[in-house]
Assembly symmetry: none
Homo-oligomer: 411 residues x 2
């Protein structure tokens, strides 16, 4: 089994405020290939120290991955440090300069002089194109050892590793079968879920079961290692189906699709449209729905109605209703959903109102969130929840619960 | 100046799911004492590898802090590894055994045999009492170097470091202060900014200057070390004010406040209200504005108008305007802002329309974003930008640019 070390570069990662998270994502990818991470290092923008770290890693493992320090500025020293560690000079690449110049021309910007630093590659290394930024990566391979230089911004690093490094590593590494199953679950707390399913997975060391949770979105990963695919699948079958049975329609995705993508597909399949009316979530629900490409096919529009007056003027929630029930009520949530539906002409509408805190405006406990729902031919509905978290935790969960509520209605 | 390295021990910290956060807290404490962290390392439960890491750190810095691996089980190898690295045996301590036995008696539990592992200390080291767990820490000092062994659970580590290590370090270290300045900048690319200000900060090693960038938000950190506060401030004055002069009103915050907080304060100071009309950003702008507590004081409401029809029905953008200029036009952005302002009765309104991609709907290049602005007594205005990034990068920058546009109008 090949081992890897990950070196994150950047003085900001040695301050109290910033942490290297790229290594977590990289570790997950490496594990997929059967590669274990043996050590992780964070070094600042210090060429000598970084060169020493690279030398040490190369003496210990066969795969060394560096993230960060490939930018255009003087304190981006990864290229120079690795060049020094490998004892190979940096060479200018006209093709990289052409690509960079083209990129700036397309964006109608002037390229800064210091961007030329990004056109140098370690002698013998292959440049890795970066579709999302100016920093090309590098792949260097010699004597069975691999060194990868990747950009620091996570979306650049991830695209480059997936597109360029994974295929190269797969060709290089002995075949090993890892099969996974993956479930995404909404509308449950992490401990409730674990209490429910742990009797199923606990007896098994293979597959491994990992549960990750954040703001009301839970991911369950099963990973089985075996010599052949049928063996790996048999291992997964001992754990996966019983978990699916226990969770039922709480599972919203088995392929990694996000909740907003799942809901989008449901709407598209019905040729239906959706509108939203958001109070405490203030745009987060609309933001998630429209993060999906092609969402203009089904997203009609929405209303951010943060004040009582706006609920009345934009959505027709009557002042009498608000006076009698307050804005944090099932009555208001229903009227908001119905108002959004009528005013946009959408097939469905979802509304969110609640107390995100830190103080309660209506007397309802902070964390109270009410999700309203309007659809053709039925009375508007509403459901009350008490959600965990600080202000932004409650807001994020409110958007999550609203999407999941809609998903279950559309099943 | 004293430097430190932090070594986190534990194989779980080399999985995709767990991250060492103790080092962030420790870094903040060390910085208070004028100590910089030079390198951070994570190693698994591997005695040889850990011993090698300790040897290397001792050759580089004068303070080495280890966290984790002090538990009672066989895979807790920090004591043995450091003993090996220092070439000093572990010695049994009756006082530690008495303390441990007493602890278990008070909790009316039986002490497991392997807890005896926790009663051994490196020869010459001082045990550090742990009021919150069974793992004693250790303080070893020799030839001006210090090695600390601390438990992994954050509440144990923090109590021990604060109560035992900080006082010892204060006695040992020369008095020293670190002072920082901090700027947040919007509306500029990272390379453009660096090219502008690097002639100012480059000549100085103290203060250090760090530039961090993400989705159109740039942070500049200056950190000065000195023996006294006036000296540290004098060092900062050589770099901070010239940078402020070059960047002018591109700097939106000097205290870490976010752009949405700064805009909120501007609106509050004017007793003004704001509404938004979002097309391609789909709620991200409203979501950011309402992430600030108390934003209901100034946020009137908003419209998510994803389709041409909604722009017409909800905001009164005429079909003729859309037919002639398309939705991605200055004309449409102005009409959206004015429509939002009229329909909510807000003092100001900001609109966002554009092409987030992946395909262009109107023929304008992907990345085109137009920000509209409406205010009392002036004609509505609009400004066109071409922004970097994939779909969600363009959307995030669109919200950032809109907030910054508003901030500059309100100056």
């Amino acid at each position: 089994m090949a081992d890897a070390e990950i070196i994150a570069v950047g003085s900001e990662l040695l301050t109290p405020d910033r942490i290297d998270t790229n290594s977590l994502w990289l570790t997950a990818q490496l594990n997929e290939l059967g590669v274990e991470v043996r050590r992780k290092v964070v070094v600042g923008d210090d060429r000598e120290l970084l060169a020493a770290a690279v030398c040490q890693s190369l003496s210990e493992v066969s795969i060394v991955i560096l993230s960060g320090g490939l930018g255009p500025t003087e304190d981006d020293i990864t290229r120079e440090a690795v060049s020094q560690a490998l004892g190979r000079p940096l060479v200018f690449r006209q093709d990289l300069l052409d690509a960079l110049t083209g990129r700036f021309e397309r964006l109608q910007r002037k390229m800064a002089d210091n961007n030329r630093r990004q056109t140098f590659v370690i002698e013998g290394a292959e440049p890795l194109p970066n579709g999302r930024g100016t920093a090309a990566g590098q792949w260097f391979e010699s004597n069975g050892k691999v060194v990868m230089l990747l950009p620091g911004p996570p979306h650049e690093l991830q695209a480059m590793f997936t597109g360029e490094c994974m295929p190269r590593l797969r060709r290089k590494l002995p075949p090993q079968v890892i099969r996974t199953r993956f479930y995404r679950v909404a509308g449950m707390g992490e401990s409730d879920l674990d209490q429910l399913i742990s009797p199923v997975y606990k007896p098994y060391a293979n597959p491994t079961t990992t549960i990750l949770a954040g703001a009301g979105d839970i991911q369950i990963h099963l990973r089985a290692h075996a010599e052949t695919e049928p063996e790996a699948n048999a291992l997964l079958d001992a754990v996966g189906p019983p978990i699916e049975k226990l969770l039922g329609d709480r599972i919203y995705s088995r392929n990694g699709a996000s909740l907003e993508e799942v809901v989008g597909e449901q709407l598209r399949a019905r040729r239906a449209t959706l509108s939203v009316a958001e109070s405490c979530s203030g745009g987060l629900l609309g933001g998630r729905i429209t993060s999906v490409r092609g969402s203009s096919d089904y997203f009609a529009g929405g209303f951010l109605v943060y004040t009582d007056r706006m609920k009345t003027e934009l959505l027709g929630v009557t002042p009498e209703l608000l006076a009698e029930h307050t804005a944090v009520s099932e009555e208001c949530a229903r009227a908001m959903a119905e108002g959004a539906r009528l005013r946009t002409g959408s097939t469905f509408a979802v509304s969110v109102t609640g107390e995100a805190g830190p103080e309660s405006q209506t007397g309802a406990p902070v964390g109270t969130v009410i999700i309203g729902y309007a659809a053709p031919g039925v009375e508007p509905q509403a459901k009350r929840y008490l959600l965990f978290g600080d202000r932004n935790g409650v807001r994020a969960r409110a958007a999550q619960w609203a999407l999941d509520e809609l998903r279950r209605k559309l099943l």
